[in-house]
Amino acid sequence: MYPASFDYVAPSTLDQALDILADRGDDAKVLAGGQSLIPLMKLRFAQPSLLVDINRIAGLDYIDAPDGYLRIGALVRHNDVVASDVVRRSNHTVAHAAPWVSDPLVRNLGTVCGSLAHADPQGDWASVMLACGAEVVARKADGIRTIPVSELITGVFTTQLAPDELITEVRVPTYTGPSGGTYLKLERKVGDYATVGVATHLTLGTGGTIAAAGIALTAVAATNVKAVEAERVLVGATSGEDVFREAGRLAAAAADPRDDVRGSAEYKRHVVDVFVQRGLATAAEIAGAAA
């Protein structure tokens, strides 16, 4: 299988890349890890006339946590996240999810920001970022803006990024109290898309109450789903089985799965329910240990 012909540029600075996108963004695609884009090009579902390879740009592969955010730069590979002590110290949901993204070979090239820009409804990272209230920094030649991930993804493989915009980092808010999180993924085999994925995030307040909660679902709707009703019932409640059960029920109701080779809609909805309860219980345990 071969992609259609395209022009290729590999700028060495971010400014050059943004200038090229300003000029030809309409028919260009940004190449980071390429682990989703190249397969689509080989199938000719994507036929950009220009590839802007950002891999030669220095300084986009940072993971740090300077002030209020865990920041993951545009060229951070999934396996960089797996290996990162900063991530392990900063955010349990991100740390849990990283080893479950695709397979070890893809994780050596694929990037977190690229995955978000690609907006595959079966992508794991969007759920993680939705649960944790993350935002992306999008840059273009004459501007910069931050977009909450909850507003970034507008549909299947669709974001609100303009053709001349590039995600330069994703930033996850630092925990504000004792917190925990998980990412549970059911997959048929390593490297397969999720049958169901569930990201959870909890911050505990005083007296065993829940101060903040995040839940997001992978592969059970046309896009990743932020289970807002389930989050709402958790905040202010006493952390424990009862409220987790209610959150599981509400999250399952927020899912809109389809029957496919990976399972029936009913089965997937049930897995959402179970995973939300399990994920929250583990998140609470981690948060409790940190309290």
């Binding site: 590999a10 390429g34 590839l51 390879d53 397979d103 070890p104 893809v106 090239l109 390593v190």
Partner: protein, 175 residues
Amino acid sequence: MEITVTVNGVQHTADVEPRVLLADFLRRMLGLTGTHIGCDTTSCGVCTVLLDSKPVKSCTMFAVQADGRELTTVEGLKRDGALSSVQRGFKQEHGLQCGFCTPAMMLVGTALLETNPDPTEDEIRWAISGNLCRCTGYMNIVKAIKWAANERNVGEAVPEQRVVSVAEPQEVPAS
């Protein structure tokens, strides 16, 4: 466009169309057919090569992306004409049946032992989890990589006979 890539320590300069996949560049332009193409859909991992020592799928990368970088293919595993410990492990433990996934498995095993010289069985299984063996011969692939780890840890200078016994103690049946 013109690219220069170091493959198995040898520098190659070539003129390639941007859409040429790295796997095809290696196989057709450099004649290194040890890198196989299986599914061609980023699923099976038989096209694995080491890019700056990390295993990646060469069917999911363009040759132009490798410009200025170092690649290792299965042809580069031999050292001074002798098989590497991982290659010897595959021979010793019968880590192959049809051989189609073998170059990729050996490269992944080599990369694993560089970063984790004494992996557990779970760690080996995790490392090869992106590579399919169509003969389902995983048991011996895992043993082969373990054998190589043991041999490397004992030391390359140790005679092969003794290394084998270190890797897998033979039980003496009661007579």
